[in-house]
Symmetry: C2
Subunit: 478 residues, 2 copies
């Protein structure tokens, strides 16, 4: 699957030279993004029926840019664009395309067309496309695939979503340990069906257990008569086939891997994961943290409006509930507010700054957990650290607001009340900001999931309680 | 710099096998993090003066794990740990270590010791260590380096921070285009001083301009008498030496690169960037977005408390100012609140849910901009899209709160007022959440920098204005 004849090396798949002379209509801006002028020019020609003209513009583009072109085109123009570019809309372009845009396009193809596209791809990319389809469509595509590809894809689909089994390619180079470097080179030259792009050679025993790995640069630098077992690195990072992709990405990062062997539960070599797929995952997982902390779901600008609505409104309704908690705290003090309306003016300041302080701490904690920097060994130390930062922040902000309110309202008691409330709330914010994600993580939950809704509930409620409570106790309104 | 004798392949640098038998005290948990028990065991032995015992535990660890050990150890124990592990604390461990922890350790070494460590590293890692030092210390270390290493590091330091010039290694394999595959293999075997770990061979013309690139797997699969120019890929992504690292990372991601040539302004090949460094940058840049959106500065749990305080308190004070804007909006309506204190109870709900809606939209926009998905071509479309999502969200939340307030307060007018205010505020939140980052980006500013402070100011102020304003106009308070 996805093999190129080794005699005609895949020059056509080349990345576009960044310094290449631009087309008459400059296709890329200085950040390597397609220019609006270029996108418009392509769409205009397609819509005017000038398919030749549109293809002349698109032909020099890299598959990743063609994928971008579809994403940047208005969704109403995508179908006509796809028809005009039918021969360039290959598996590689689809693999680079945003999931939502791709699913929209694939939805318009029949099973045979999808099967043909999937057949051009490495297993991991083919699986990504097929996994998103409805079950019926999926079965139809699988039936239309040739038997080898079907078996590979069906096996990959049997692994859980976002696991190493879904990410891996099955195309890899594995050799027995008694082979010499010369034998390996001969084997590679004699077998045109082998993978063309690979970065390491895996050495396996008779039961197909990986026992070593050898970077190609070492193979190239070693005389032909040396046995691979004398050159290979025996210690290697093995990825269990059911490992979560986030964990896989952390391993790649920690050990600076370019590729890694994937093994089944019996320890047999079943595939390889390469770092170019990991790069996407790190980007995705980090984005997920931002979006989840904000309660924005998948948060993709290509997602249908209704899907975005559904994922976001859930959290807004949850937020409505948590806001009711804060609101009911205020209700306890209606009498106090009635006697001194200025309190209603000042109370959102205490709540708001506390919320910001909580979000700061939470962002730090969520990222430290996600990158394996915050572990059980340093949890207590990190909590103490965040408390110290919170105390310094609280003292500073409390002093500023306390003095300010004293001067503006000519009321030192009010100044002291708001300063004490601010100090308390920033302290609680720091505590909640680190404890909430740490606790969620300890119980196996995602520390990022809408933590901000709960931290804000805490800082709002405690801000109002501290401020209005202290105002009442101080006899300010008395 | 950093070369290993090619006859003794660098087996010692191997990644630890994930399935290796654990030490008596299990060193790693199931997520490949050092266990608290293991960290404590090492520290206890070091503190008890049992250097042998501590080293027996640490010896099997990968350099990345030794770096983690230092990060997880309490900072008071790090010095003694460093002394006990002096011979394992090499350049590779330092390259993997958190910046703050590393700087703390390096601060205790003299210039010759630092120079010796830096001499073991690739240029990019050596530069990362030296760049963070005070200018005087930096000069002393540079003087202590051998002349070749010094020249390489001084040149790297001449490039701007976070640029391709800082990231690149100068060790690479470049060959003339008329060479055959056989000549290249011979050249690699005959020259033990060449780089050991590389993934591509660069082909250059007489002026050292890159004209093509060849993956090692292609070299291996091509007969010896074929010229490299017949096999190489002519189109390649060239990275200008002054390109920002975030941009470099996006290129690697877009074109699925493993390594890429770096060229000076005259187009000459000066270095190579490999994907393992890019993986760290993607992680860093994504973390930066989360932390900046939250106003948490660098947000590293190893940062000294005072530094964290300084970077966070700035934004809390900025937030204090923006909260005053919201507060002054409320002050305009003190008369209204005095007549109906329930308004003070309800107003934070309108502001809070609006703030959450704004943060959701902003998180989506910031990530779409950072990953080059939101460009000039689809800005207008994305704004329209976010408005549609906001209208749906607004209508839903407004209906729920409107009905709820009508029932609880037996006051349909109050229900209609809060529903209309909520609708308005969620609409404004959506607009501000997408317009603010897009505008910051258009003017060349970082769309993530504390956008949340400004979005929250907008949603707080407009929430209070809409709710209290409508309440006043509706005649609710007589």
């Amino acid at each position: 699957m996805g093999e190129t004849d080794p005699d005609s090396h895949p020059l056509g798949d080349a990345a576009t030279a960044a310094f290449d002379a631009p087309a008459p209509e400059a296709s890329h801006d200085e950040d390597d993004r397609l220019t609006p002028g270029f996108v418009d020019a392509v769409i205009e020609r397609v819509e005017a029926g000038d398919v030749e003209g549109a293809r002349a513009l698109v032909d020099p583009l890299h598959p990743a840019d063609i994928a971008d072109l579809f994403e940047l085109a208005p969704s109403t123009a995508r179908r006509a664009l796809a028809e005009a570019m039918a021969d360039r809309l290959d598996g590689e372009v689809l693999a680079e395309m945003n999931d939502w845009v791709r699913d929209e396009l694939i939805g318009e193809l029949n099973a045979n067309q999808v099967a043909e596209l999937a057949g051009q791809l490495d297993t991991d990319d083919a699986v990504a496309i097929i996994a998103d389809m409805e079950e019926d469509d999926q079965r139809a595509v699988l039936r239309a695939l040739d038997p080898d590809d079907r078996a590979a894809i069906e096996e990959a689909l049997s692994y859980p979503e976002e696991s190493a089994g879904r990410l891996m390619q099955r195309e890899l180079i594995a050799v027995p340990e008694h082979w010499t470097v010369g034998q390996i080179i001969q084997y590679l030259r004699d077998n045109p069906d082998l993978a063309t792009d690979f970065w390491e050679i895996f050495v396996v025993d008779h039961a197909h257990h990986p026992i070593g790995t050898c970077k190609l640069s070492w193979v190239l630098r070693t005389p032909r008569d040396i046995a691979i077992s004398d050159v290979m690195q025996r210690e290697q990072t093995l990825i269990p086939v059911d490992m979560d992709q986030e964990e896989v990405a952390l391993r790649f990062q920690k050990y600076a891997l370019i590729s890694a062997a994937v093994v089944d539960p019996a320890g047999r070599l079943v595939g390889v994961i390469t770092v170019d797929d990991i790069v996407h995952i790190i980007q995705e997982e980090a984005s997920e943290d931002i979006l989840r902390m904000s309660g924005a779901g998948d948060g993709d600008i290509n997602e249908p409006v209704v899907d975005s609505y559904k994922s976001r409104v859930r959290w807004l309704l949850a937020n409505l509930l948590t806001a009711l908690v804060a609101s009911s705290v205020i209700a306890l003090f209606e009498g106090t507010i009635a006697r001194m309306v200025a309190l209603a003016t000042l109370m959102p300041i205490v709540a708001g700054v506390g919320g910001n302080a909580g979000t700061q701490t939470m962002a730090v904690a969520v990222r430290a957990i996600a990158t394996n920097q915050l572990t059980q060994s340093n949890t207590l130390r990190t909590i103490v650290r965040e408390i110290r930062v919170a105390l310094l922040n609280g003292a500073t902000v409390a002093a500023v607001i306390g003095v300010g309110v004293t001067i503006v309202f000519h009321n030192p008691t009010l100044g002291m009340v708001i300063a004490a409330a601010m100090m308390t709330n920033i302290f609680i914010a720091g505590l909640a900001g680190v404890l909430l994600p740490v606790t969620l993580d300890r119980f196996g939950a995602d520390p990022a999931v809408a933590s901000s809704v709960f931290v804000t509930m805490t800082t709002d409620s405690m801000g109002f309680l501290a401020f209005l409570g202290l105002a009442t106790l101080s006899g300010l309104t008395g």
